[in-house]
């Protein structure tokens, strides 16, 4: 099962290595990582999407992460109502003749064209991973030259619904 786990960490050297090394040693498969600073000085946040076998493994993962001295907080967001986004940039083969066609494809995705050259065009899109996948699929026939994705980042919504309503809010089931 896929889980979104966020870590609040002290921004000391080696902390990313410690965390990913631990996941590697305990055989948790990392699907994506994103790391950034937080509003607090010296504190960073890491968002992991990991693939774990079952709940026992998941509990091991959060406990082991929690044990790390530089890890301040571990949250498994998967069961919560969350806002989760990823950013992707997609460069496709394109000449003048297909530009307007591409424009009409990307519009419903609220994606933007961010770079154009004689034979290529680059698009930027943000959203949930499914949305990004869908756009990539639509653009594939034009010939994809390059893709760069940030990996998912997420936090919980300001207001949490009752437990019974959770499934419909959760991103990864």
């Amino acid at each position: 099962m896929k889980r979104i786990v966020t870590l609040v960490v002290q921004n000391r050297s080696g902390v990313l290595n410690r965390v990913t090394g631990l996941m590697h040693k305990r055989q948790f498969n990392i699907e994506s990582i994103s790391v950034g600073r937080t509003e607090q000085d010296g504190i960073s946040k890491m968002t992991f999407v990991v693939d774990v076998e079952d709940h026992r493994k998941l509990e091991q993962l959060t406990k082991q992460l929690h044990k790390q001295i530089d890890v301040l907080k571990v949250t498994d967001l998967s069961e919560k109502a969350i806002v989760a986004r990823e950013l992707a940039m997609i460069k496709i083969v394109s000449n003048a003749s297909v530009r307007s066609e591409v424009q009409s494809i990307i519009e419903p995705f609220r994606a933007d064209v961010i770079d154009i050259s004689r034979d290529s065009l680059s698009v930027q899109v943000t959203g949930k991973p499914e949305k990004i996948e869908a756009l990539i699929d639509l653009l594939r026939p034009y010939g994809i030259k390059d893709i760069a994705r940030t990996g998912l980042t997420a936090f919980s919504r300001g207001q949490q619904p009752q437990a019974s309503e959770l499934t419909q809010f959760s991103l990864l089931k």
């Binding site: 080696g14 090394g21 044990k67 530089d70 890890v71």
Partner: protein, 573 residues
């Protein structure tokens, strides 16, 4: 005069190395195990110039230093301190760091590093010791400026010795230790991400008490957590009050008196039949400070299937990791036992039939070995050493058959006198660990029980015995083989003894004599019996080359992959 020389040599301004030494003094360090080299020259210079009281023990290999520090830590429950140079000095420590991590031993390991000006350039003797030790340390630091040294040292000792103990590496670039240091961070440490749970939730202890009331066949399993938490006395009170039988992991030996009538012996792969059957049949298994390691549990499908499992552990990640736990108690074992004793109700119905069943089983299935008319078997020798010392000794072992025999036949009556490498199973551990024990406990009898294989991995430390005249007694149970490997080849590889019979070996007596240490070869039971007591009572170091029969196996045994209810070699063959 030396004192004046030292004062003269002292620079007007303190260096980072001086600050480091002061920080160690503040932690009341009395012994450092180390080996010098380029990147720690400033630290060794500061050591030379310092008036500090502590002793530096120059081992003959960094691995010797770190195993000695582990032995020191095991018997004192205080962090062992190690100092080594960058690159090869630091990488020579890796085995010991991993060993300490597995067996939860508190260590503060100081390594030199190349100067910050050349870091990352593959400079001479540069090794990424932070990267290398990250998975095998509780925590590690690379000092970024001398200003941080007092805080980092405080944090390192705190992290190493609190919660679940473990090794902490502090990597110190040469320019930082060499350069003047004008200002230091004297602030108390700041570790917002590290707050180990020490005291148990009283409600969980209540659940445990209720379970004890209900249980018909309760069993306590002791692990090293009882030793770290200083919980032995309270444990004994509780076990006696409720008449609960006790078994132990390899590392937990000594947490409960080995000669107590409630003690069933060690459990696990080479545990006693009765201990393993008790685990299989009990209806309440109370694990105090053990981690349900696979050498204890065997195949998990057959482990304690009838039991409600209570698990006291200071490390929440250990609870539920291998064995499903009904009553989790995150706590220091000593604190949890105290709370248990406080809440203890009137004793439940005595478990008379359960105890009778177990005592019957002990009588039916004692540990056994054959005593052939000629020659000596190692089990017999270990038993004799135990009797000759009346069990009053600190015993370290190496890894292999002799280690298991020591665990089986030595009945530790008191805590902190059993020093062995359990989790990592590190050959070469036993002898240097004994040096650390002897330095920590100068008045105790320290015996290193080692195999001829493992001893040859770290025998260079004989030089330390010679130099310091440490009265460690080395007993080589010499079967001219890598015995445990040979045993597995006999049992599971149809006696194909691939590289495990080592007929060629040094003359150990002459080897000892080369270091001006008394060496004795004992080949028969008569020789052994008549001289062992005297040799062990000597106040000098002695090396005993005890020749034992090669074709002996450790029994009983849980074959790999099987449940602990499924032992072989329970009855004499």
């Amino acid at each position: 005069m030396k004192v004046e020389t030292k004062a003269d040599a002292r620079p007007a301004v303190k260096t980072g190395a001086d600050v480091l030494i002061e920080s160690l003094v503040n932690q009341e360090v009395d012994t450092i195990f180390g080996y010098p080299g380029g990147a720690v020259l400033p630290i060794y210079d500061a050591l030379y110039r310092s008036d500090a009281e502590f002793q530096h023990i120059l081992t003959r290999h960094e691995q010797g230093a770190i195993h000695a520090a582990e032995g020191y830590a095991r018997v004192t429950r205080r962090p062992g301190v190690v100092l080594a140079t960058s690159g090869p000095g630091a990488t020579n420590l890796v085995t010991g760091i991993a060993d300490a991590m597995m067996d939860s031993l508190p260590l503060v390991v100081l390594t030199g590093q190349v100067a910050t000006t050349v870091t990352g350039t593959d400079a001479f003797q540069e090794a990424d010791i932070m990267g290398i030790t990250t998975p095998i340390t509780k925590h590690n630091y690379q000092v970024q400026s001398a200003y941080e040294i007092p805080r980092i040292i405080k944090e390192a000792f705190h992290i190493a010795s609190t919660g679940r103990p473990g090794p902490v590496v502090v990597d110190i670039p040469k320019d930082i230790s060499a350069n003047p240091c004008f200002d230091t961070d004297e602030a108390p440490f700041h570790l917002p991400g590290y707050q180990p749970t020490i005291n148990p939730n009283p409600l969980q202890i209540k659940k445990l008490c209720d379970a004890v009331q209900k249980a018909k066949k309760p069993l306590i399993l002791t692990g090293a957590g009882v030793l770290h938490g200083g919980g032995s006395d309270v444990l004994q009170d509780i076990a006696e009050a409720f008449q609960i039988p006790v078994t132990s992991t390899l590392l937990g030996l000594g947490a409960f008196p080995g000669d107590h009538e409630l003690f069933l012996g060690m459990a696990g792969m080479h545990g006693t039949y009765t201990s393993n059957m008790a685990i299989t049949e009990c209806d309440l298994l109370i694990n105090v400070g053990a981690r349900f390691d696979d050498r204890l549990t065997g195949n998990l499908e057959h482990f304690a299937k009838n039991a409600v499992v209570a698990h006291i552990d200071i490390d929440p990640a250990e609870i539920g990791k291998n064995v499903h736990t009904h009553i989790p108690i995150v706590s220091d074992a000593g604190a949890a036992l105290k709370e248990w004793k406080r809440q203890m109700k009137e004793g439940p119905d005595a478990h008379e039939s359960w105890l009778a069943e177990l005592h019957e089983s002990i009588k039916e299935n004692p540990l056994w070995f054959n005593n052939p008319p000629e020659g000596m078997v190692a089990q017999w020798a270990v038993k004799h050493i135990y009797e000759a010392t009346d069990g009053d000794a600190i015993v370290t072992t190496d890894v292999g058959q002799h280690q298991m025999w020591a665990a089986q036949y030595f009945q530790f009556k008191r805590p902190d006198r059993w020093v062995t490498s359990g989790g990592l199973g590190t050959m070469g551990f036993g002898f240097p660990a004994a040096i650390g024990c002897q330095l920590a406990k100068p008045d105790e009898k320290v015996i290193a029980l080692v195999g001829d294989g493992g001893f040859q991995m770290t025998l260079q430390e004989l030089s330390v015995l010679q130099e310091r005249n440490l009265p460690v007694k080395i007993v080589i149970l010499n079967n001219q083989a890598l015995g445990m490997v040979r045993q597995w080849q006999e049992e599971f590889y149809e006696e194909r003894y691939s590289e495990s019979l080592v007929a060629c070996q040094p003359d150990f007596v002459k080897l000892a004599e080369a270091y001006s240490i008394r060496g004795v070869k004992l080949e028969t039971r008569e020789e052994f019996e008549s001289s062992i007591k005297g040799l062990l009572e000597s106040d000098e170091p002695v090396l005993i080359d005890a020749r034992v029969i090669q074709q002996e196996n450790v029994f009983p045994m849980v074959p790999p992959g099987r449940g602990i209810n499924d032992m072989v070699g329970v009855k004499p063959r």
